[in-house]
């Protein structure tokens, strides 16, 4: 595969769930690319479709009768959404890996940590049992788990949260996948451990050249790590640009609201949070999903949903205010 082709191209991805209340639109026409060794952040509030997007990329959803995926997820040139579960079993863990929010519940409590890491190369690379175990220990050393040989023999409940997250990262990287999806990898961890785990992810990205999708609600985490950031609101990307321009010149009112909601000790006065609640995904408002909470909303915003368009060099925004500037 050529270097300049994105490793992952998400094109018009929509995810819908049939629920008792109606059709829940969790992800709404989302498109973005991830280049090899790029780190892209997906930011948004709880329930904005971050995790659903990441699971759709691994086709972990879409298998039940009430889950509907549409659009394309092109991974290494092939559409993931057209793959069977059997084909996906080969791709997951080998080419794609997932780190989830809660390390404490991510591992099976009844199996040794080493066993669970060794399982990955055993399945995907048909490595013999003994070699897989050695590989597991090596991976634990890579993620800087002290006395790895001994720790591999322990069970998940004997680990702290931070150590477990290291184990899960070790597991994710054991087959050197090209894409790692880190779904709120540090949310459940203490701040000090958070920094260590982020640094570890960054170091490993450099070492293995893995492309990473980092899903978070924490703009601070994004500021420390990502190359590119996509801001997700109610299942749609409202703004996507490089980290630098996002923090320097945010253009979507929602992004600005998010940035203003970060406590800043240098500024006096009260925080300025975004008023209102995220919309009900079953009954999305007509027009721009953000308009009921947007102080700058125009009449047009209530009628038609703005497209995500390039407004300047690599800065895509979905907002009617941008049009009125032009």
């Amino acid at each position: 595969m050529s270097k300049d082709r994105p490793i992952l191209e998400v094109k018009h991805l929509s995810v819908e769930f049939k629920t008792r209340e109606g059709i829940l639109k969790a992800v709404n026409d989302v498109s973005f690319d991830v280049n090899p060794a790029e780190m892209i952040g997906i930011v948004g509030e709880s329930g904005c479709g971050k995790s659903v997007t990441s699971k759709a990329i691994m086709k972990l959803i879409g298998n039940r009768k009430n889950e509907f995926l549409s659009g394309k997820v092109i991974f290494k040139g092939e559409n993931i959404l057209e793959k069977s579960e059997k084909e996906m079993q080969k791709i997951r863990g080998r080419d794609q890996a997932l780190i989830s929010q809660d390390p404490m519940t991510s591992l099976n409590p009844l199996f040794k940590v080493g066993q669970q890491i060794a399982e990955v190369p055993r399945i995907h690379q048909k490595v013999a049992k003994k070699n897989a175990w050695e590989k597991a220990i090596k991976m634990l050393e890579t993620v800087k788990v002290p006395s790895a040989g001994q720790r591999a023999n322990q069970y998940p409940h004997q680990f702290s949260g931070g150590m477990l997250q290291r184990c899960i990262i070790a597991m994710g990287l054991s087959c050197e996948p090209e894409l790692l999806i880190a779904d709120e990898p540090t949310t459940a961890l203490d701040v000090t451990i958070q920094a260590q785990v982020l640094k570890l992810i960054m170091d490993l990205k450099k070492q293995f050249g893995t492309a990473i999708i980092l899903i978070t609600h924490d703009l601070g985490v994004v500021a420390q790590t990502c190359d590119t950031v996509a801001v997700l609101y109610a299942g749609s990307i409202v703004e996507m640009t490089s980290k630098k321009s996002l923090f320097k010149s945010p253009r979507h009112p929602y992004t600005r609201g998010l940035l203003e909601s970060i406590p800043n000790p240098a500024k006096k006065g009260l925080l300025n949070p975004i008023g209102g609640q995220p919309p009900n995904l079953v009954k999305l408002p007509q027009g721009c999903p953000f308009h009921p909470r947007c102080g700058l909303a125009l009449a047009k915003c209530r009628e038609t949903k703005p497209d995500l368009k390039n407004r300047s060099e690599n800065h895509r925004v979905a907002c009617w205010l941008e049009e009125s500037h032009e």
């Binding site: 579960e85 863990g93 997932l98 989830s100 519940t105 991510s106 099976n108 399982e119 399945i123 409940h157």
Partner: protein
């Protein structure tokens, strides 16, 4: 672990003591006594008084209990006036049959209940799941004596596939032994399989919703591996708990099933003891069954620790 087992065994002592007291006194609430049963139609007051004095039944009930429990502690369960044998001998002679019946019923229950429950959990609301829930309802609501009679009627009498009763010792003929045990095992294990199935289904549904199952999928682990290695092992703890409790049902249910299939086990022995007012024999069988129940549940608790490393005994 050893310490825990010893502790639990010591706990069994007061439990069994309580059971011995209750069984001893409750039996004596039943009208008539050993002597009326021995004499039967030839009852006359003079002989009755003579026999009662001879057997010590004229002494106070507390005294009688103390004499009996003293013997039990020394390993002497008394001598039955009916079987003309020491109680312990009768019990040990019959015990293997009941144990075999309970074992076969348990295996039946596990072999039917666990796979069916697991499948029902994986394919929720499918045909299999509906069948399983019907099975679950029928299994717990059909009385075992009715099921036993039905099995005899259909399988033995109409189809002539299996014998309707009697027992052939293992040493005599393995095939004969098993052929005679299949129907009693099904009749007794059927209900347990329903309970095990329901527990397996609900435990599996809960486990399959856990984060580590989704994470296992995200690692590319095959579906069957996830189901039978990752999920089922986690579901085993509640299943074993249910099995331990059901062991009591199996031991108790053997009273009826052994009667229906004419199996000379402990259950039938205790039924005889009841009709004969054979106090010592009945007390002995009750203590043995209760002891067995306590031991099985101790075993289950020790098994927990083998399944789940978080459980420290």
């Amino acid at each position: 672990m050893v310490k825990y087992a010893i502790k639990r065994l010591l706990w069994a002592v007061p439990i069994l003591f309580g059971i011995s007291v209750i069984s001893f006194f409750v039996i004596r609430l039943v009208p008539g006594d050993t002597v009326t049963a021995i004499l039967g139609a030839h009852y006359n007051e003079e002989q009755a008084v003579f026999l009662r004095t001879k057997m010590g039944l004229d002494r106070s009930i507390v005294y009688q209990y103390l004499i009996w429990i003293k013997g039990v502690i020394q390993g002497d369960f008394g001598f039955s006036a009916f079987t003309h044998k020491p109680v312990l001998d009768s019990i040990l002679e019959r015990l293997p049959i009941t144990l075999e019946l309970a074992f076969i019923s348990l295996v039946t229950a596990v072999l039917i209940g666990i796979p069916m429950g697991a499948l029902a959990a994986v394919r929720r609301n499918s045909l299999i799941d509906n069948f399983a829930s019907i099975w679950g309802m029928l299994g717990v609501s059909i009385p075992n004596f009715w099921l036993a009679t039905l099995l005899i009627l259909v399988v033995s009498l109409n189809l002539g596939l299996l014998p309707s009763g009697n027992f052939i010792p293992l040493g005599e003929s393995l095939e004969g032994n098993i052929r005679h045990m299949i129907l009693p095992g099904l009749a007794l294990g059927g209900a347990v399989s329903a309970v095990v199935m329901r527990m397996t289904r609900s435990a599996m549904i809960e486990v399959l919703d856990q984060n580590y199952i989704e994470m296992a999928r995200a690692r590319g682990i095959r579906k069957n591996q996830i189901l039978f290695r990752h999920a089922l092992k986690n579901a085993l703890i509640p299943i074993f708990t249910v099995l331990g409790i059901q062991a009591g049902y199996l031991l108790g249910g053997s009273v009826i099933i052994e009667q229906v299939f004419s199996l000379p086990g402990i259950g039938r022995l205790s039924l005889q003891a009841i009709t004969n007012r054979d106090y010592v024999l009945l007390q002995g069988t009750i203590l043995f069954v209760a002891g067995g129940f306590v031991m099985i549940n101790l075993l289950v608790d020790i098994l927990y620790a083998f399944i789940d490393p978080r459980i420290k005994l």
